[in-house]
């Protein structure tokens, strides 16, 4: 089975063909946004981290930015950095890491003689040359083994657990059965149901890792001393009928389908094996989406009963809901309406429909979020308290 993708030098294939303009730190967000806005074919990735990072966050942010840059949906990458004496994250380490993939990478330093605006202007010229070259690359049939499907959920309700996540989990099963790979994330939203996923691990090591990431996350939350009921599950989750974090988790893990769990990967890392993987991320959807993109996911499905507006800068996000009135009202940010009764009685037929949509989007059909350009949200995960 194949889809129409963009072949890359490292053997991967993209479902999109952008130039990524990646901000090294929060101080260069404006410059990255500015450059990407001015040059067609460019997308910005910005985040809030900066010079004050300490280990282990420094390593996590570095590898996350490198692996975001390596995502096959990017044909080339421009790193934007202040270029000051205290860069926090070294832009050259990021650029060299991304360059291992064989794609063009350059660094735009803002602290240059002639002022910041002229440095930005030179960055635009570099990005334009990269984009011009990227537009020569054509879609071609590529094996579905190059499809990496990320699965996300946000704005959980009992119905999203029962139906919408079951639909995307079944679609993920189809991706993997046909030779692709994929995975899910959001560690705290697995608490209470981690044994169900761990039982599907391919060996004891993967099983231990699955249980460990959940245990460690729960320990960190407990150590804070705060009561998270009312935050996760949040007030809307509770109003809709979710009575505990475990109940949310029971619905959450359905999005991971039914295939054997081959690997548990750390935040910002890329899975080495094919098949199903789990990424250790927060339940917050923005850093979670970033984790999926850094893992090399080139298409994402996202169940959202509360109609979360955002997408992601360079990975198409197919948004699905079972809420018919939302689907009609917010038609411009939702892509697929899940039939509740059909999913309960015949989940495979619904999963197959979603799988077909995934292949269409992977082959170039734009998502609703892409059509209206609502794709700007991005964030990273760090765990050390801010100083």
């Amino acid at each position: 089975m194949e889809f129409l993708g963009y072949s890359r030098k490292d053997g991967l294939a993209g479902t999109r063909n952008y130039i990524g303009v990646i901000s090294n730190g929060v101080c260069t967000s404006d410059a990255a946004n500015w450059i990407a806005k001015e040059v067609e074919g460019c997308v910005p990735f910005t985040h809030r981290e900066n010079c004050s990072l300490v280990s282990p966050d420094k390593e996590v942010v570095t590898r996350t930015l490198i692996n975001l840059g390596k995502n096959p949906n990017l044909a080339g990458v421009l790193i934007v950095s202040a270029g000051c004496a205290n860069p926090g994250i070294d832009p050259n380490i990021i650029a060299n890491g991304i360059a291992e993939s064989g794609k063009p990478v350059d660094v735009c330093m803002l602290h240059q003689p002639g002022g910041v605006r002229s440095a930005i202007s030179r960055g635009m010229n570099t990005a334009q040359k990269m984009a011009s070259d990227a537009f020569r690359i054509k879609r071609e049939p590529v094996s579905i083994s190059q499809l990496r499907h990320g699965v996300e959920c946000g704005g959980s309700t009992p119905i999203s657990g029962l139906v919408t996540n079951a639909a995307q989990g079944t679609a993920l099963d189809f991706v993997i059965d046909n030779g692709g790979s994929g995975g899910f994330s959001e560690t705290p939203e697995v608490i209470g149901a981690e044994h169900v996923i761990a039982a599907r691990a391919v060996n004891d090591e993967v099983k231990r890792e699955m249980l460990k990431v959940v245990h460690d996350y729960e320990e960190r939350l407990m150590a804070s001393g705060y009561d998270f009921f009312g935050s996760n599950p949040d007030p809307q989750n509770i109003t809709e009928g979710l009575s505990s974090l475990e109940e949310k988790s029971v619905g959450d893990i359905r999005k991971g389908g039914t295939k054997p769990l081959r690997e548990v990967v750390g935040y910002g890392e890329v899975p080495k094996s094919n098949g199903l993987f789990f990424i250790d991320t927060p339940g917050h959807d923005l850093p979670s989406l970033t984790g999926l993109a850094a893992a090399g996911c080139n298409v994402i499905t996202y169940s959202t009963e509360c109609a979360v507006p955002y997408g992601f800068p360079f990975v198409p996000v197919i948004k699905i809901t079972a809420k018919k009135d939302h689907f009609e009202k917010y038609f411009d940010i939702l892509d697929y309406l899940v039939d509740i009764e059909k999913t309960i009685t015949d989940v495979r037929s619904v999963g197959k429909e979603l799988f077909d949509l995934i292949l269409e989007v992977a082959s170039g059909r734009k998502t609703q979020n892409e059509l209206i350009g609502y794709v700007g949200a991005c964030d990273l995960w760090t765990i050390v308290p801010m100083t």
């Binding site: 309700t157 009992p158 119905i159 029962l162 705290p188 608490i191 209470g192 149901a193 169900v196 729960e218 939350l221 407990m222 001393g225 705060y226 009561d227 998270f228 009921f229 509770i238 809709e240 009928g241 009575s243 505990s244 974090l245 475990e246 109940e247 988790s249 029971v250 619905g251 359905r254 509740i340 009764e341 309960i344 009685t345």
Partner: protein, 92 residues
């Protein structure tokens, strides 16, 4: 039309797929049983399909999602007023 569902044979709660009125007898998809509801059950909320004693586990989709904080008779709404989760509990 399916009005309520039980996901797993171990489950002691069902999920309403439409707003269900008090006093109605509901046929549950996934289990050959009718449950007479003692109170209204809002769309996608839970109700007990068997009596659940205080302190007993609440099971959904085969997984323990908490325990009953009071005796729950059959056909009653199950939510934060009569059950609690067991994980991520911080004693301050």
């Amino acid at each position: 039309m399916i009005k309520a569902v039980v996901l797993n044979p171990r489950d002691n709660i069902g999920v309403a797929l439409v707003d269900l009125k008090s006093g109605t007898k509901v046929k549950i998809y996934g289990r050959e049983v009718w449950v007479k509801l003692a109170e209204p059950i809002p769309y996608q909320h839970k109700f007990s399909v068997t009596p659940i004693d205080s302190g007993k586990e609440i099971i959904k989709d085969g997984v323990v999602i908490g325990k009953a904080t009071q005796d729950i008779e059959q056909g009653h709404h199950v939510h934060t007023h009569n059950m609690t989760g067991l994980r991520l509990k911080v004693n301050r």
